[in-house]
């Protein structure tokens, strides 16, 4: 069974996943079967955890999450059923005989892996990210605020490197928040995957919440309060609509722990090309980081 290690977590998949090949690990002996297919009796889906509509695999789809003894089952409208073993260690499509389509891979590498990572206390920030002097800066914001544009611009500048385009997994490592760059960025081609060649863990230095401003405004970094920083984490972690009560409680715990490690900034971001060098300068000069030195 192919094994991969995205975001520092080992997963087994019933079939190879091309997008995860850069993070493949050598297959050891297949241990116990961690997912028992016979646990799902017929069309019975016990313990509905959540039922929510969201943007999944290029369309608005209903996603139903079910919890059973042998793991989680995600039923995605017009796509199929996908499973996650109890602690997230094995994920795949429900019918193993069926060949995976592009849509299946987008779902497995989207909501399914996001939920599997959350079960391992790894939280997927909906963020782009770039690195300067080995410190990662994550850019959060609503769709259309310019997260990808800003990270892509920075990554072309001297001393900067792209870390994530759309999803940045993060986790607590003792009293530090780590960014985990080994994660497929589905909107980028395989040849441009930013995580390849980067360490598995990097300190998350800044958290910047982008706020769209008028084009005539000057870019500015405004320090956010601890409560605003918690809100930034709470509001920008992907997949929360699929979380059960236990995961939501852990999500809250992570957000408050992470926020306690430092300060986030609101980045007033006017949408004009000339603002980008000014933002770069601001970020390079900022003396206080997200993680404590």
């Amino acid at each position: 069974m192919p094994r991969y290690r995205p975001a520092t977590q080992d997963f087994r998949f019933p079939v190879p996943i091309a997008e995860l090949e850069p993070f493949a690990i050598s297959a050891g002996a297949d241990e116990e079967t961690v997912f028992v297919s016979s646990s799902f009796p017929g069309n019975e889906y016990p313990n509905l955890i959540s039922r929510a509509e969201g943007w999944v695999a290029s369309a608005q789809r209903m996603v139903e999450a079910y919890g059973v003894e042998s793991g989680f089952l995600l039923k995605v409208e017009d796509c199929g059923e996908y499973f996650i073993a109890p602690h997230g260690e094995t994920i795949g499509k429900w019918d193993p005989q069926e060949k995976l389509s592009q849509l299946d891979r987008e779902i497995l590498l989207g909501p399914v892996i996001v939920l599997a990572l959350a079960l391992c206390n790894v939280w997927s920030l909906h963020a782009s990210a770039a690195m300067y002097n080995e410190n990662v800066i994550a850019f959060l914001g609503e769709s259309g605020t310019g997260k990808s544009t800003l990270a892509a611009y920075l990554s072309k500048q001297t001393g900067w490197q792209l870390v994530a385009d759309d999803i940045l997994p993060v986790k607590m490592n003792e009293d530090e928040v780590n960014a985990l760059p080994h994660f497929p960025q589905l909107k980028l081609p395989m040849s441009e995957q930013p995580g390849v060649g980067l360490p598995e863990r990097l300190p998350l230095k800044h958290l910047c919440v982008l706020e769209r401003a008028n084009t005539d405004e000057i870019p500015e970094l405004q320090k956010m309060s601890a409560a605003q920083t918690v809100q930034a984490f709470l509001g920008h972690i992907a997949g929360t609509r699929m979380f059960n009560a236990e995961l939501l409680a852990k999500h809250l715990e992570f957000s408050t722990q992470a926020a306690a490690q430092g300060t986030a900034y609101k980045l007033i971001y006017p949408h004009r090309r000339e603002a980008l060098p000014m933002i770069k300068e601001l970020l390079e000069k900022k003396p206080l980081g997200f993680c404590k030195p």
Binding site: S50, S225, A226, A227, V230, Q231, L234, T240, R241, F243, A245, L248, A249, L252, E253, S255, T256, A259, A260
Partner: protein
Amino acid sequence: MLTLASAIRIPTYVSFSVVGEDAFLLNTQTNKYYGLEQVGTRLWQLLNENNSLQSAHQILIKEYEIGPAELENDLLELVAHLMENGLVELVEA
């Protein structure tokens, strides 16, 4: 009817976290988050220690410069709001 004599408790399905002067509450039955600011957070902490709204009222009068009647109104309004969202419940006598 909710009065200062009412006993209030935080249900087990509510998780919360205090960050500085703010508190974040999570109702795991509805999967909704809520935020409390300074005085609300202090009230929450007091209710978490002791179910008595009366006792919380007496402590808050000493901690904040506010008249008893005004504080009573504010507390009852806040607690009613918390109850509406399933974040606290009345303890039956």
